[in-house]
Structure formats: structure tokens, C-alpha cells
Symmetry: C2
Subunit: 265 residues, 2 copies
């Protein structure tokens, strides 16, 4: 990265990861358009196996795009160093957040299994391309996320509620939003619910559990997708001795293209 | 099941499983049309975790439709008893086939994790429905399968080559065959290769490694899909103390519908 280059100019995953490795701490929204961004979770064995079964049992919320061998620091879809090539990490001990860092090299253990989990950034690009507006992007905020009354299928020590993200969609475009996102089953896929938040235990759309509330205009319908916060909620609840995640919005930029996850396009 | 009922009349998974449980030993092709049939593999921990990572790393060959907790004998997509509701099982010890049985109740262990893996029966129905002929069904044989020179991504003790199935498709229908099967990513999805068997290490189409050879008519192109024998090949090569699989063609009939795995339909 040259000094004159702004982060917004990143188009190549290797270059972006190199800048993060050199200490650039920035949210990754808008970086490397067309390249898939992913959630990261590293867990020690054997709880990593519980998490893997949890993810397989709840694939819409926890789509595993890649999993390492214990101790490995790269993957075919991430030809870098998972310990330091994200802009920021969060470290949890026994379910408590104990720190945020720009690398986790000194915390690494040979029994850590790392999962890269699909992120809705991928289908949001597809929504925009097909003419479906995405309110929180228009407004420059984070997507609103809600804890639902829907329980995920547990696995071993891993259990927790389904967390959803919400996007208000003009009623006439809901069909298109369903159809477009359904083509991306490995990045949360089609909505899990349309229209009646009370039916999934959401009392007040103005008060999301994570992220920022968004305007809902007349004629718009709230549409809910399974959310990548679901695995983190389960991981935190299981209180593993150590867990490492990405800092919210500071994603793993992979070497996979968004179109790699497009089905039936 | 009444005495006058032929197995071909099965339309309900629960009824079919009950008949298998009562000792009916029959291949399941054609049973319960529209309901998803799956491969079964049960492995003891911790090798089950190696297999799970192997499957996640090779999702086209090893799509996990369901995974149990250790010792569990049912799943949401299989509301029966995995130890006896398939028509026949194969038992392996240290990688060697030691027997074939109609139930494995007495072999069951609390550390066995069972995986149900997607099967190409699902997309074959979709091919036929859309007018793409399936030769081995026309001819009443088993699909030809070949061990390729393509290595799967290993995980722990699990490693092995990609195994593919082959269907000869009229040249003008190859595009349709690709498109239709691509919509079923969790049952092997789109072909892994079209047209040049030598490029994936297949020397002689007339001599498949598993199944039966099929006619290739003038104007037809050999099309290759990742195959559910891949996980079994890796499991056998890893020589676990115990492994239980379904007997070839004697599949698990699930409570999932083929359309549950259709994406972008």
C-alpha cells in the first residue's frame, strides 16, 4: 500500500489484508467489491466440534465457508494469516469480552479451529444490483439485528436463539428480494420471515438488539434474514475458555468471489 | 404395511421405514418419490470430527444434510431410528468390510456420530422432469462411478480422491443439465467436469470403479458430478475402528422433500 492510497481504493484482497496486517484498523464495508467478506470465529477443541455441529444443524444462520485444521492460519479461500490479516479482532474468555486487538498472534494455540462464516454483505450487493434498495446502506448505518423467539437447534454445549437482520423492502419488491437472496444459500439465503415481527418474538423494530434502527417508509414491509451474529451469540453463551472473533464490521476479506456463492444465476 | 402391498407402492417415508424396520431388505430406488434419499455414515468420535471437517471442506462431494449428537438415533429430517430404519447396512472395522445387516442396534455406541449425506437421486428426478434423459435409469442399472485424479482437501486422518458419477447427455441438453443440477447445491450440484474424462484421470469409461458401465450414443457428451461414494472412500482409507454405512442403493429415506434442496427454482 502506498502512502497516497486511500483504503476505499482497495480492490485486491491481498493488498487489503496486507494493509490490515500493517496495522490499518478500519471497517471493511465497501472494501474489495465483488470479493466475499466473512465472519471469523476461532475456538479451541473440543468445543470447536460442538460449534461445527451447531453450524451444520443451523446452516441458514451459520453457513461455514471454510474451516481450518486445528492450529492452521490460512485456508484456500483465505491465502493470508487469519491471526493478523483482519483489521480488528475481539477476544472472549469464558464468554466475556476481554479485549479488542489488531492481531491475535500471541494468543494463538495449536488447538484452535477457525471457521469463516458467510456474511450478508454478499447478497446486499446482489440486492442493489437488481434494484432492491437497502436502507441501512442508503443511510450509512449498520443493519438492525434482533434476537428472536426462534431457538436454534442445539449441539453439545452450543445453543441459542436465532438472530435476524431486518431490511425494509417496498411491498412490490419483496418477491424480488426473496428470489435474489434465495440464490445465495451459503450467505444466509432467502428471508426467514416477512412482515409480522411479532410472530418471531420481535416486539419493537425501533429497538434492535444489535446495530442501528432504520426508517420504515409507508408501503414498505420488514423482511428478516438469518444473521451471522447467531453463531457469536451461541459461542458466547457456551462460555468457552477462549474464543476469538472479528470485531463487528471488521470482516475477513477472502479470496472467494461473491459469485462463487451464487446458485442458479 | 399390509401383506398385499408391494414395496413399489411406498409413498410415505414413515411407512417405508417401518417396513424396512420389520425386515424388508430392498434397494430404495423409486421408493417414496419426491422424498429425499440420503447416504448414511456413522463414525465414533473423535474421527467423526475429522470427517465433519472433511465434509465441510469438500461440500460438493460430501453435502451434510444432517448430523446427530453423539449417540443420537434420529434427526429432524429422519424421524425414525437410524440404527434399523434403513433396509440394509454395511459394517467396517479398521477399513475392512466385516458384514452386511438389516439393523445395527447391537453395534450402537454412545460415541457414534451419524451423518446423512445428500444423494444424486434428488437431482436425477429433476433432470427427468425437465426432459434430460438419465441413461442408467433408462437401462435399469446403477450409475457408473469413477475414482478421479482430483484429490479432495484432507482433514485430520481423512483424505482421498474425488469420486464422480457419469451420465451421458445429448450435447444440446448439456446446458440444461448443468443449470438444473446447479439448483441443487446440497445434493452435489452442478457437474464438476464436462467432456474430457482424461483431464480428471479417467482412462476408460467402459470400466467404472463402482456401478455399471452405460452406453454412450453418438452425439452424447460424458458429464461428471461429484459423488456420494467420495466420503465412503475417505472413511475406508482412514481405517477407523468402526464405521457403519448404508448398503449401496439401500438409502435412508428422509422426511425432507427433494424441493427442500431446490435453490432459485
Amino acid at each position: 500500500m502506498t502512502a497516497s492510497r486511500t483504503p476505499d481504493a482497495f480492490t485486491d484482497p491481498r493488498e487489503a489484508r496486507g494493509a490490515y496486517r500493517d496495522g490499518l484498523r478500519t471497517p471493511t464495508a465497501g472494501h474489495c467489491p465483488g470479493w466475499t467478506q466473512a465472519n471469523l470465529i476461532s475456538l479451541p477443541q473440543p468445543i470447536a466440534e460442538d460449534f461445527h455441529r451447531f453450524a451444520t444443524r443451523n446452516p441458514q444462520a451459520c453457513p461455514v465457508l471454510g474451516v481450518t485444521e486445528p492450529g492452521e492460519v490460512s485456508l484456500p479461500i483465505f491465502d493470508g494469516d487469519l491471526r493478523r490479516d483482519l483489521p480488528a479482532y475481539r477476544v472472549y474468555e469464558h464468554g466475556e469480552l476481554v479485549g479488542e486487538r489488531t492481531d491475535v498472534v500471541d494468543l494463538w494455540r495449536t488447538d484452535l479451529v477457525t471457521f469463516l462464516i458467510g456474511c450478508s454483505f454478499t447478497f446486499e450487493a446482489a440486492l442493489l444490483e437488481t434494484g432492491v434498495p437497502v436502507r441501512h446502506i442508503e443511510d450509512g448505518g449498520n443493519v438492525p439485528m434482533y434476537t428472536t423467539s426462534v431457538a436454534c437447534r442445539p449441539a453439545g454445549r452450543m445453543a441459542g436463539p436465532l438472530v435476524v437482520s431486518m431490511r425494509p423492502i417496498p411491498a412490490g419488491l419483496v418477491e424480488r428480494a426473496v428470489r435474489v437472496t434465495a440464490r445465495y444459500p451459503r450467505v444466509h439465503g432467502a428471508p426467514v420471515h416477512v412482515g409480522q415481527p411479532g410472530l418471531i418474538g420481535i416486539d419493537d423494530l425501533a429497538r434492535p438488539d444489535f446495530g442501528d434502527p432504520v426508517r420504515i417508509e409507508p408501503g414498505e414491509v420488514p423482511v428478516f434474514w438469518a444473521c451471522g451474529v447467531t453463531p457469536q451469540a451461541a459461542v458466547m453463551r457456551s462460555k468457552p475458555p477462549l474464543a476469538i472473533g472479528h470485531a463487528p464490521g471488521h470482516m475477513a476479506i477472502t479470496d472467494a468471489r461473491d459469485t462463487d456463492y451464487l446458485v442458479g444465476g
